[in-house]
């Protein structure tokens, strides 16, 4: 038996909560949402439940079918499916004021990013921020382990040339203004330490 749920006009996590509730009683639900993000959230839910997922575009809405065999035991939280987080390093200092303090804070901050469970999607370095990425910097090792953990590292090529660091960049992708502009436009959260 299929349960019909109308989740139009509802914000996350409401559609997902309703879907989950529905799946506790029924093996199959059809849920209508009016935005793509809700659709994506539901897809993640289906994935986490190992359930089948089908999405149909009907006018301005999305009709989603989720069917599963077992119980809705998968875990879900809105956080998991939140968008892209980008940390932008616009200088080698954390905050402004005393540069010596800012330099220390930045080292400690970059180290801390690697220690926490929630990782950013991307790190962008421009202007003097690129100095944090060079081979003999105190931050390069922490950045390398972040890169190995799947965090993308984007470095401003113009800035690398300006500071004459072309041969010293030990990680990441040296990139251009178009990429950086796009990354910032598409980010859901931008952090300037």
């Amino acid at each position: 038996m299929t349960k019909q749920i109308d989740a139009r006009g509802l914000q996350c996590p409401q559609p997902v909560v309703l879907a989950k509730k529905g799946l506790l009683e029924f093996n199959e639900i059809t849920i209508i949402v009016d935005n793509e993000i809700a659709g994506k959230n539901l897809e993640k839910l289906a994935k986490s439940l190992n359930a089948e997922f089908e999405i149909k575009n009907i006018d301005e809405n999305f009709e989603i079918k989720i069917s599963q065999d077992g119980n809705a035991s998968g875990d879900y939280s809105c956080k998991i499916i939140s968008g892209k987080t980008v940390i932008v390093f616009k200088s080698e200092f954390m905050g402004s004021g005393d540069n010596e303090l800012g330099r220390l804070l930045m080292k400690a901050y970059i180290h801390t990013i690697g220690e926490t469970n929630i990782k950013p999607d991307m790190l962008v370095f421009y202007n003097a921020g690129v100095k944090l990425t060079v081979n003999n910097s105190d931050t390069v090792d922490d950045l390398k382990s972040l890169q190995n953990a799947g965090v993308k590292i984007i470095i401003c090529g113009t800035c690398v040339k300006f500071y004459n660091l072309k041969n010293d960049i030990g990680l990441g992708d040296v990139s251009n203004m178009y990429d950086i502009s796009n990354i910032l436009l598409e980010a859901d959260k931008i952090i300037y330490p």
């Binding site: 010596e100 303090l101 220390l104 804070l105 080292k107 400690a108 180290h111 801390t112 105190d138």
Partner: protein
């Protein structure tokens, strides 16, 4: 499990800066990190190093006042 690291805790950032300068002049490896949550300290930043370098570090930093040393768990 015990970790391989110890930290040096300082009274203020100026002492951390002083210590950093001293250690940079040597080949001892160390890292500036925030003071771990399990430890309390007047200053939020500390210096982490390998336990095996404990004696070396203590000697290098012996003229900086009020340093506390802790092994990390």
């Amino acid at each position: 499990m015990k970790s391989d690291y110890s930290v040096a805790l300082f009274q203020n950032v100026s002492s951390v800066l002083k210590a950093e300068k001293k250690l940079k002049a040597t080949d001892v490896k160390f890292k500036i990190i925030p003071v771990p949550k399990s430890i309390s300290s007047d200053c939020g930043l500390c210096i982490r190093f390998l336990i095996q370098n404990n004696d070396k570090i203590r000697m290098l930093l012996n003229d900086i006042e009020n340093i506390e040393y802790r092994d990390l768990n």
